[in-house]
Symmetry: C2
Subunit: 671 residues, 2 copies
């Protein structure tokens, strides 16, 4: 492949390469180390290797033609795609590159299925959901008495439950008479907010369920809960498919501004993804999607606008006006969501133009407004939200860190999926690394490549890329080993043979060719280190600005939240300088606090009122326009000296592992 | 054609005949005098002659096979139908009969387009609709101020209009920010019930419209109104397409009970018809359907159940329990109605199992509860509703008259459409008839058949059938001429040559072969007379029962309502005995009072509250189970002696016209 050859970019990973015309998309993907499912091996019988070709201008990616360039689909391909109702797709085993093209690999086509590392935290939540069930005995209709069955039900609810002024959803009204007859006038009623009857079932019939969703720029997480017990029955997550239209918030806002149907496309993409997640969650729990009676949604302001189908362009420039800041209740069907036909959606409120429902969810989950101590809560993601305060006062800010912490904008980056490097240790003497990949408990130097268990034609481990926690650890370990300097440059004086140079730009071999799925070494490049530095500097500067505004010199406690936050080792976060100095014992990683908050609001309607109030009491600080932001940002780009504030830090670090390069023996190809 | 040949039945007219296999559906229809549009004359180029083949068991009609029997569609036919997006249709010019079949001729395929005889009555109505417009100036968003544009709009509405606690429809929220920018923060807001923002428009933009609909068993009428002026901009009506599934209410209830998808099919049919009427009305008024911001619906209880998609089976037997008796507000989109995307539907309340929103609409239109006099209001239709009372008391009842008054169940019956006989005079001496058809001002004896203006290959007049008012007049005139006896039998002793006999059963030639579109004489058969007698006896008995219950010997005033009521000559109604004795000067025909009531509720929301109250104060009398109903019914089957109570009646009747049979000269066929 040469630079003159067509450019092929794969989303959502962003990996790219130039390939000779005639290369199949499947081969191109494999050459870049991307697994696409293919059972029949290009015999055009399985139809598993579906990809989507994105049309439009993607100047940012280096593609300016509107149409994707692939050979035309033949008869057999069209038939397979029609049978799969996938008419906007191509089969990657037969579609060949003819020009520059942006290809999206849908979740179901990816060879590596996503795993969930951690179910939602086991917090104590009072169960008082907006959706509840009551059983009532309704008066039987009598000749000469004309109330109508809905009035008879209202009378029963007033008499037996004390509720008046109720409405009924049309879908429930349609089921009322058959349910009354089948249940011999005994009826289980599902009420929403003690205001609306959303379902009726004959006789006594238990079972109400809800879904809490956190829509992140990169990752969407969903928790299916039993609304009677609060139990999480299923936790599912997926890549936000909007990533095709832009990796960060501003790219998506731009996409909406530049394309007339941009908002609709991104709205449809997230609704489709949520329907799929709901289906998966219901399936996992042995339920049907129509058993889901409510959905609570958290997300940043742009995600919420797009979820509602509202053009987010006003968020792209001052004064960053939200279409709506307050909590909303909408019928799920009005958004195209396929849950119970009468299900409602509760959208949590936002604080300001760039601090959204996800941060409000973090607040109701972490409750800094109930603490004496000054807490700093950092919700790490493609856009980071920062909260500082205690029971007396709360400040919030937003920092555009970019997606580096989620494994994007990193040359070998990938999501937390099997094969992703998540833990790294570097030998200070040899500079060689040992690491662990998701899906294998062993460190890489313990691997016996010759005896690898073969799964789907491949050894079951091997490194496919680096996920967020792996990136943070490798950069911190490189620094601790002296391979990186405090200003983030590779140290040519280090005796390691793992550093390679292209002119003055170094790169570090994290995994050798033998250890990598692609058969090519996985590098940590100078750009990767820079991206991490910029991201952590943005986080740090945002936190510092809030501390200055509050007149706080030091925080008592740091909470690292984020869909991947549970995997960050707080020590490495401190070494890298993601967060201001704090006793390492007082740094806690709490996982997806926004998701937890959505789940709490799903299970407790009092928390919704609290969220609405908090959204108005938190004082939002516009850090981007602060005079001192740039100073703080630049000052935070360096990696701070690890052992300076915490002499005991070295003791807390794990014992370095001696890595012999010979341990990575040549593996036997099993096919 | 013989009795062994396949049976072909055409809906909605119900005309039927046996045809040799291989006969095209178009030819069969023409042979029965039914006009199907066809421009290309069977050359398979125009695609105008579309018909629908109904599948299912129609045992009542004499068809028991589930599938309709026609030859398979060829390539050319399929292409034409695909192009017209009419894939459930066949082209009648090419589809040939192979077995028994039930064929529905859709409105657009009928050669005789329906006309509206009378726009809605010009009543005085205070204009105070549920939908109103206000113009507000909204605060401009400021950096550092985070209310959100919806909150800013709420603040403006509170400040300038004094409204608080409002909600906003998602569709309006989606339009809010662009409208604010385009209108430079000046906004026209469309409010529903002073509770919900359903639309926003940039700057100052006038124009709000609503649709009032009366869903009858046989006819659906729609009035498009300007909600600022109350002006009726368009009046449209159509056959209720549910008639395919049963002509009267009980047949439709049965259809719903016998077929799992019966309710859905009938629901879909009426929604489709309403969408079409809304489209036609908007087109007539130079508007778009999305300009219609509210719909008010009246209809009998079965029609309202089916409109809402609720199985009406409970109305099929005691205790006749309604799913809901009270008024309802629903989003039009939840019913599949294509109006403004945030439009609401207001469904008027019902009184009891068989007296529905249509009668409540009649009450708010005619206001018997404001009269001193005792009024009898008869709303004539396939199901007749009767109200008796004054400001002190009101009774209501329902009488299943059947569709005879609407031209169905009458051998030559048809809807009020061009070519339908609407007025009849019979010469007492010769027994010959002269008549007028809709679309021609002249009496038939004035026709010059030789000089007939030819339109679409046919003279522009000629009689196609008899509509409701024509049937009432011909039976009354036959009685006045002595051709019918008071017990409804044809009088063989009358010297007329217009009577023909088959054994002891007579039939009267109303139109000669030369005068008829089909080239076959139009008869009034003994069965036709019996059907009218049964229908009028049901009406009369219902009214009598109410009078007995109220202890009233005589009513002060009779109001004849109904979609065709304006065409009944009150004198003939009295002669036939449709209504109890009353001073003929005190009988008024008011047209579609239910439609008027729906329109009034559309224009004045106070009337909706009044409707809800009236629905509960009217006392419903279950006449069907009354011990004395059968007596009254049997006693009312005879035709009362016309001149007995009103010696001056003969003076009021029009001068009989001398009809010479020779006047109907042999006409020249123009093609």
């Amino acid at each position: 492949m040469t630079g003159q050859d067509p450019l092929v970019i794969f989303m959502p990973s962003g990996r790219r390469g130039h390939f000779a015309p005639g290369t199949t998309v499947l081969d191109a993907a494999r050459e870049l180390g991307l697994g696409i499912e293919s059972i029949c091996g290009g015999r055009l019988t399985c139809g598993k290797c579906k990809v989507q070709v994105e049309e439009g201008e993607f100047a940012k990616h280096g593609i300016v033609s509107r149409a994707g360039h692939l050979t035309a689909a033949g008869e057999a391909e069209r038939e397979l795609l029609n049978a799969a109702h996938a008419d906007d797709c191509r089969l990657s085993c037969t579609a060949c590159v003819t020009g520059d093209v942006l290809v999206y690999i849908p979740e179901e086509s990816r060879a590596q299925k996503q795993i969930i590392r951690k179910a939602a935290g086991e917090r104590v939540i009072d169960i008082d959901p907006a959706v509840r069930q009551v059983y009532v005995q309704v008066d039987r209709a009598q000749l000469g008495e004309h109330r109508g069955d809905w009035r008879r039900l209202q009378d029963a609810l007033a008499r037996e439950v004390g509720l008046t002024g109720l409405t009924i959803d049309l879908h429930a009204l349609r089921r009322l008479q058959p349910a009354l007859h089948q249940g011999k006038w005994g009826l289980t009623v599902i009420l929403w907010n003690d205001a609306e009857v959303i379902d009726v079932r004959p006789g006594y019939a238990e079972g109400i369920y809800g879904l809490a969703v956190d829509i992140g720029s990169t990752t969407v997480a969903a928790y299916l809960c039993d609304l009677r017990t609060g139990e999480v029955l299923a936790t599912e997550s997926a890549m936000n498919p909007q990533i095709t239209y832009g990796e960060d918030l501003m790219s998506r806002v731009s996409y909406a501004m530049m394309n007339d149907d941009g908002t609709d496309k991104m709205h449809d993409a997230i609704i489709k993804a949520l329907n799929k997640l709901a289906g998966q969650a219901a399936h996992t729990a042995g339920l049907k999607v129509r058993d889901i009676h409510e959905l609570v949604v958290a997300g940043n302001t742009t995600m919420i606008h797009l979820f509602l189908g509202i053009d987010p362009r006003e968020l792209g420039g001052a004064p960053f006006a939200l279409a709506n800041r307050d909590a909303m209740d909408i019928k799920a069907r009005d958004l195209g969501l396929r849950l119970h036909p009468a299900a409602n959606v509760h959208v949590l409120p936002a604080e300001a133009g760039h601090v959204g429902a996800d941060n409000v969810a973090v607040l109701i989950a972490e409750e800094p407004h109930r603490q004496e101590q000054v807490e700093l809560i950092v919700d790490v993601g493609t856009n980071a939200e920062i909260v500082l305060g205690n029971r007396e006062w709360l400040l919030s800010a937003s920092s555009p860190t970019g997606p580096a912490f989620e494994g994007a904008q990193i040359s070998a980056g990938m999501r937390a999926a099997p094969g992703a490097i998540e833990r790294v240790r570097i030998d200070k003497t040899t500079g060689a690394a040992t690491f662990r990949v998701i899906g294998d408990e062993r460190w890489s130097h313990e691997w016996d490549l010759a005896a690898a268990h073969v799964l789907d034609g491949k050894p079951e481990y091997l490194a496919a890329g680096i996920c967020g926690s792996g990136i943070i650890e490798v950069v911190a370990e490189l620094f601790l080993a002296g391979i990186l300097t405090a200003d983030g440059r590779f140290n040519a004086a280090h005796p390691t043979d793992r550093l390679v140079w292209e002119g003055r730009r170094g790169a570090y071999i994290l995994a050798t060719a033998e250890q990598a799925t692609s058969g090519q070494p996985l590098y940590v490049t100078q750009d990767d280190v820079r991206n991490i530095q910029l991201a952590k500097a943005a986080l740090y500067a945002g936190a510092k600005i809030l501390m200055k505004r509050a007149g706080v010199e030091r925080v008592d406690r740091v909470i690292l939240a984020g869909a991947f936050g549970s995997y960050i080792d707080p020590l490495y976060a401190l070494i890298l300088g993601l967060v201001p100095d704090c006793d390492p014992q007082q740094i806690a990683a709490v996982g997806n606090a926004a998701g937890d908050g959505a789940r709490i609001a799903l299970l407790n309607r009092g928390k919704r009122a609290e969220a609405q109030e908090l959204a108005h009491t938190v004082r939002y600080i516009e850090t981007a326009v602060a005079d001192d932001f740039q100073d703080e940002f630049v000052g935070a780009i360096h990696i701070p000296h690890a052992s300076d504030p915490y002499p005991h830090l070295a003791d807390l670090l794990p014992e370095p592992v001696a890595v012999e390069p010979a341990a990575a023996r040549r593996r036997m190809r099993s096919r």
